[in-house]
Amino acid sequence: MEREQVALAGFETVASRRESVQGRTRWLGALSVGLGLVKIAAPTQLTRVLGMRNSPSTRRVMAGLGLGEIAAGLCLLSLSRSQTAQKLVQPIHVVRTISINRPPETIYHFWRDLANLPRFMAHLESVTVQNGTSTWRAKAPAGMTVEWQAEVTLDRPNQAIAWRSLEGASVPNRGVVRFTPAPGGRGTEVTVELKYDPPGGELTAALAKLFGEEPSQQIAGDLRRLKQVLETGGLAHSDASIHRGMHAARPAGADEKTVILGREEVQS
């Protein structure tokens, strides 16, 4: 149990980063308010310094701009104090669970062979294991690829596996998966808990959500695919789901690029 807690301990870097982001926000806010006050209080001097024509209309425009600047500054100042700003840089914590009509042993062994993970985790390209260290390659938003190394920190056969990324990962992450027999002989409840710390924390997650890459939904999708692989022997593909993004429910043409995760040999 102790090791498990170690595996899920928090992220040291986060608090300090939050401090610095808050500091910068406060400084920027104060600067804006100051600039705004100058624009309102001394428009004549300011226009002269900037080499602009000193007419009543420029002074009016300057005062208007000053008001805008003060408003922006006040927003920044309030943001630096609010929960929102703090939340924006927090690590992401996702818990998702699914029931799979297979015994815990089967699911544990499948998962413990980390090379199987890309068969159902849509964003993983590969996981290779060497000398107890695994190398993970994943698709990142905007067509990029990220790679990191990880180690297994807990291995309780048929019950739980935990892992964490090693020093140097661009997205520090750790996770644990637990396998619990479901009541009434309905197989196994599989619960995944992931913590990761992308640059920008929740802000990145919120942006990613706009592009359909929301983490909890991603993990839920991965678990559904795990269930499909273990229960049915492969993934369920529809005519639309093999395309990235929306596509009409009709067969794909030979010239269309499709994405079929874990495509097996289908011909008889």
């Binding site: 229960e231 492969g234 429910a249």
Partner: protein, 391 residues
């Protein structure tokens, strides 16, 4: 190949689309011989089902000949003649193993959309929106059938397409609607809607031993068909008579023992409530107008069963929960678990207990699909059921 595509509200079009290919080792490709337009296709046609995309191939009632099988499909061979159930089901999950295949936990790749809408996702369905999978449908020359080792049933050569085609949906759907009524000897069953599903619900109620079967609709021809072909003992035209009063009269004041709603989300009624629901629907204040369902609940006898097989998609207003609680009514529903009815209903057809082709009024080539939708939608030419011949 040619396929009938959804091109927007009230627009379907037969287009040339790519032929399907095997995507999994449990797939088969079927060359469609006969396919039908379902009443539930009209909800897509009228734009009441969300998550449709322009170009989606429609159709979930179809049969044909196996032309290709994946290596995991050992029960079928090229050349077999099969009927395909409309729910796509894996056969391995807890829901499938319990016989509730329309609740398959693995066949909907877009389960997350359905989950957002309904809390949990049901199975994927051929040609029935992206929230139910985004599968190309069977109003086409060819169709890919996932989990083909579980779904399709081989049919004997001596039965015609028209006799077995409706095993894909409407016969089992009507049958399940009647089965949910727990019909006892002497039972009186009222069925709202004498469309194809309603007719099969009536015919099934008769097969299951109901003594009196009351059909409710507004089209006289449909009511005549219900009486002459589907075993209805009484009919009520709701444009001519008050349904509640008529049912009291027909049941000695008790109300029917069971009421089947075979109408669903686009109900009509002869009351001001119809205009209200229609307006709310247009303003997106409710998605479905449950006029038949409300009436079925009101009319059902104390302690009776209301069985809902008409399609609903979202939310309804003025749901008479008080009647259900205070009068001990049982509300049962579900998309049909077609797989479990295929064998027993095929046997009933083989024994001559029923010939499902009685519902067919129109036979058209696949290329005339748009005309078929128009005929069915507007009840032109007394249209009851359209079969499209794809080959």
């Amino acid at each position: 190949m040619k396929a009938n595509c959804w091109m927007g509200k009230k627009r379907v079009e037969v287009q040339n689309v790519p032929d399907p290919q095997l995507l999994s080792h449990r797939d088969a490709i079927i060359r469609v011989t006969s396919t039908a337009i379902c009443g539930s296709d009209l909800h897509l046609y009228n734009g009441f089902v969300p998550t449709m995309e322009k170009g989606d191939v429609l159709g979930h009632e179809f049969m044909g000949e196996v032309v290709e099988v994946g290596k995991g499909v050992s029960n079928l061979q090229v050349g077999d003649r099969v009927v395909v159930p409309f729910p796509i089901a894996c056969g391995n999950c807890v829901a499938c193993q319990a016989g509730t295949t329309s609740l398959c936990e693995n066949s909907n790749p877009n389960a997350w959309i359905a989950q957002k809408m309904w809390g949990h996702s049901p199975c994927g369905i051929f040609g029935y929106s992206h929230m139910l999978g985004g599968y190309a449908g069977g109003q086409a020359e060819y169709v890919r059938v996932p989990f083909a080792d579980i779904g399709p049933i081989k049919v004997p050569a001596h039965l015609s397409d028209e006799q077995v085609l409706f095993l894909s949906d409407i016969f089992p759907t009507g049958y399940m609607g009647a089965e949910m009524c727990d019909i006892q000897p002497g039972a009186v069953v009222a069925v709202w809607g004498a469309g194809p599903v309603g007719l099969f619900a009536m015919a099934s109620a008769r097969l299951l031993g109901a003594e009196r079967i009351i059909a409710i609709d507004r089209y006289q021809k449909r009511l005549e068909r219900a009486a002459s072909k589907a075993g209805a003992t009484d009919v009520i035209n709701y444009e001519e008579a008050d349904v509640y009063e008529s049912l009291l009269e027909l049941t000695g004041g008790r109300g029917p023992d069971a009421c089947i709603d075979a109408v669903g989300m686009e109900a009509h009624a002869n009351s001001p409530l119809y205009a209200l629901d229609r307006t709310k629907q247009a303003l997106m204040l409710e998605t479905d107008r449950p006029l038949a369902l409300r009436e079925a609940i009101r009319c059902c006898k104390n302690g009776g069963v209301v069985s809902v097989i008409g399609v609903y998609g979202g939310f309804i207003d003025h749901f008479p929960m008080g009647a259900i609680v205070n009068r001990s009514l049982t509300l049962r529903s579900g998309q049909c678990h077609v797989h479990r009815y295929l064998r027993p209903l095929l046997e009933r057809i083989e024994r001559g207990e029923i010939d499902p082709s009685f519902v067919i009024t129109h036979r058209l080539p696949l290329s005339a699909a748009a005309e078929g939708y128009d005929l069915f939608m507007n009840n032109r030419d007394d249209c009851e059921k359209v079969v499209l011949k794809a080959a």
